[in-house]
Symmetry: D2
Subunit: 345 residues, 4 copies
């Protein structure tokens, strides 16, 4: 018996990744695909400009697209791949009507009563669900995952917290798929780097504080670290690469950092959970987007070039698949965690 | 009456840029092109795999390539585009025989008695020439320019010194032409970033200290700043982009930084000197390699996205043309400065 | 005394090329830039997403954009960079009011009384202007240039007509800029080829017949050749490359073909006319888009790899700059020809 | 019980694909990896610059590389990924000593007594094995597969033979991996097309005649068709795309062509054989390299845009994975066929 799942914004880049990841999922079965008005009633396979693989999965091809309305949604879990402004209006309607909304949108991430969760980092923040339902009087609820760039970063910051992490400086080299489809014009990015991604640096500088914060039963007390980010788009299809300088409140050795990274435990028994959360590579020239983005089926992050810069500063690189671990896969893993924890009936 | 100039390593990527920049130079005339043994005696136009423009300049096409031997060199100035290990052996032979060697190679950059010069930054370091000639007993001498990534960075650090610069953190996104030709295999870099460039980070972390140091008549006392670099190769033909965090010993405002950048004076009356050394752009998404690398004929650097991160930390981006301002153009500008200052007879 | 010129659709890709080519034109001076309603009244420099070089030309920066209405147009010649469907409505309004319209749009190219002209190929077709004005009762008129791919092809077909050309088979590898801006999404074309360009093959298969046809004073009798095209988009910024098989009604030698190509005369005294119309390169691996697209300031086409396939079939490659010789430059050259021939008062 | 297999030239691009395809093969087990002298004795995993996926397969990592000498080869089948000049010397040594050599090299393809085979096209040509052994007095033998571009083309030409195929004109857009590693320099191909691949057109113009020829028990009588090819390298990692004009000796309809393509039968019971040999897509813009190269695990070819050009000419596109169906996969499929037909003991 599988849970029935729906996707909001199913035709976009992240929507396609949701469909791809859910097509053969052992716990979930796609029942509803929702899109904007002009697509309603048309078959998903005919409407979507499918670019994430050769063909639309068979199980999704013939689904008639539904409007973004709870009345037309036959599902236990609703995954949201909506743009933020649309998500802001649409997602609450579903939560109100009792749906579990697992959202990749940024609209509600920083709301006080909305869990912003990476399963390996802060699963206990799901406790906010009760706060949210009570406060808003909803039958369902919204759980969010962070921005793609934030996720890769925070997966590596989490194990560094115990070493006395204080300040983080990060420069990113981000993939094209992060901008959705059609997204970045080829004429803008060929033989080029675009050193600006709207809203990205703000997200990377604020979301980690909530993720690494402490849930006291009622609210999340933000972690007291500082993050500064410079975000850049590079001509790469998938895979965000980040150069990170981590500053600690005391001396730190590379060995300690490696050990911390390797000790981050995967979540047991969740189908989308990778065997290793953080893979530390020893080669001088890794991680690389094209070679490492598919590690752990896109759910592992790969770290390399760890180096001590000053007594209290360590530099390293981290890479992850931005539309899997950084988007659709993140939501799916959150949903799996919620199933396991009994939040989905 | 033009000065006669020669190029060592004329067929490589930087060698081609030298030939291109010198082809119509108002002060210089190419008389000798030197290459490895197997090319000697062959016409430059027939041997070079010319890739920097449509055609080899007319004035260079029919020059028969000479061996890398002072006896076969008829020139006042010898520009060196040699790889470091070859430069180490070959350049002194020319300096010993009385030639002015303007070198882009890294071999002698950090030697105590060898000037490492960016004309707008530390022209007075040319004073080391006398030290060098005296110490080594040479009739000629070697003057070097820094690594390409260092040059863009230091052009922006120089004006920040007066604001109390203390620490620099830099992440680079470097162009393919920096690796020479054939250089980076297409299969390695398509849809990818390579987060490692051999020897690069070490250069970027040490050369600025010498460049920003003080020449006391006998030697250069290194500047007391710290630089940490993470260097990455991206699929861009020309133009190195760098994300820089500058930390000061007190509070600094963005306005002060902009003003400092814009006050860096170009050198008057040198043909290769750009009208503006640092161009500060106000757009949110500049500088970009493809759009900005040719600013000032590739001799300006372009700065953007200046932002205060903490009271004493400012972040910005800087971009420059790596084979012009960062290599061949740097050597040519050094040579022009030496002519003006009377070091070339 | 320069002619006053206007550009319709000035903010698009081809519109930008018009502005760039006209900015320093010895005969023309930009007076009016017209764009869609939402841009009217705003300064060109503020509105355009300029991507063809570092900066909008000074002379255009402060021009306030005008609506696409003859009443707001102060010009002798109106260049049209409009999409075909808009051109169909807008261009006649200008022609009716007495303007000389030099159009790059496809809307009127195949109309019986509209000249479709490449100056070096069929300048006499301008004779249709009188037919057009008479028939339509207009004070002005429309003159068009062909599709970008057609232009490169026909420049090489023209000299082959005398050798008995009968059938043409052409496979194209076309640049991204041909699709305008934003045009092709980067996610669609990175590490890919898209083997379809809407409407392109039809244009390439029909326009040459009109261009190579004979003007009998009243109409153009199409040439009796057959053209079959397969058109493909490749990840190249500028420059269309075409592999051509030319079949003749008798034996043809490579020498004859080379001689025919090299004998195509440039038009004297037109500022945009290149020194050589067709450049024949002898290297085994030319023409290449990045190296050859700027030949003759983008107005020459470059031919290479001419080879006899069968007694009566010759194969060769041709390359040209699609937004210069293939679009804006083509219209400007047409306008120059019209000035010279006295069609512009 | 698996057959033991070896790879000659195991560290190159095609060598890596062999290792990848053989790593989990149900019939074959890698026992020997052979490379040039300087690598002998070193572990494969340490020496290879692995770029075809994240990691070297576990089963190959620790294999010590052997010299290219039959004495050091413990295998039933030897796959050859050698460059042609090396293959010419090395392969016969193995055949002489009784090995079955399945070669991707071009050295012996066109020799009269060497089978050049595509299993779905001309399996009966394996009959030449006996001729070869007899003539050369070898205990083993060499069987070859065609050039990558030829394979995709001939898979589509085979079913057209019965429709009266007479002449073929083909323009190719070929992937970078076809040039091996390091292969094409990134500076040569970024924002570019290189319209020349050494020796390629000759292979594409001659190999099909042997492949489509008739084996009369003693030799192969070449097919009497004509092929003309123009070959171009494009910035695509994997997947050769070809635009084909097929001319027949009578009228042909698109329906007949589609039916012919779809009727080409896969070989039963061979593990590497795809479910469908030729996949005909109906979309206007397919096949595309990035979307279609992995069809049938890289062993299907994908056809599209079939169009009648003249009564007796049909144009279409074909795409295939050049290092799978076009190289390593082709050799492996040949080996599987030889096993099934009893040629391997």
């Amino acid at each position: 018996m599988k849970f029935k799942v729906a996707v909001l914004g199913a035709t976009g880049m992240v929507g396609q990744k949701f469909v791809q990841l859910l097509a053969d999922h052992p716990w979930f079965k796609i029942t509803t695909l929702m899109a904007s008005e002009r697509r309603v009633g048309k078959k998903y396979g005919d409407e979507v400009n499918w670019i994430v693989s050769s063909d639309v999965p068979e199980c999704a091809k013939d689904i008639e697209m539904a409007p973004m309305d709870p009345k037309h949604c036959d599902a236990d879990i609703v995954f949201s791949a909506l743009p933020s402004d649309v998500a802001r209006e649409v997602e609450p309607k579903f939560a109100k009507e009792g749906f579990v909304v697992a959202s990749n949108a940024s609209a509600y991430r920083m709301e006080e009563d909305v869990p912003l969760v990476i399963p390996e980092v802060n699963p206990d923040h799901l406790g906010l669900i009760e706060v949210q339902k009570r406060k808003r009087g909803w039958d369902g609820f919204i759980v969010t995952n962070p921005n793609c760039t934030t996720i890769m970063l925070v997966l590596t910051l989490k194990p560094l917290m115990d070493l006395g992490l204080k300040r983080v400086t990060v420069a990113t080299m981000q993939a094209l798929s992060g901008a959705g489809y059609p997204g970045v014009p080829s004429l803008a990015i060929m033989d080029n780097v675009i050193p600006f991604i709207k809203g990205e640096e703000e997200k990377v500088e604020t979301e980690p504080l909530k993720l690494l914060g402490e849930f006291d039963g009622g609210r999340v007390i933000p972690a007291s670290i500082k993050v500064s980010a410079s975000c850049h788009r590079v001509p790469v299809i998938d895979g965000h690469l980040e150069a990170v300088w981590a500053e600690f409140d005391g001396t730190v050795e590379v060995d300690e950092v490696v050990k911390a990274f390797e000790s981050l435990e995967p979540l047991k028994d969740l189908p989308t959970s990778p065997e290793k959360v953080i893979i530390v590579r020893k080669e001088v020239d890794r991680p690389q987007p094209r070679l490492d983005r598919d590690a752990g089926n896109g759910m592992s992050v790969v770290v390399g070039r760890i180096k001590k810069v000053e007594d209290d500063i360590v530099r390293y690189l981290v890479l992850g698949h931005n539309t899997v671990r950084g988007a659709a896969g993140a939501s799916v893993l959150n949903a799996e965690l919620m199933v396991k924890e009994g939040y989905v009936k």
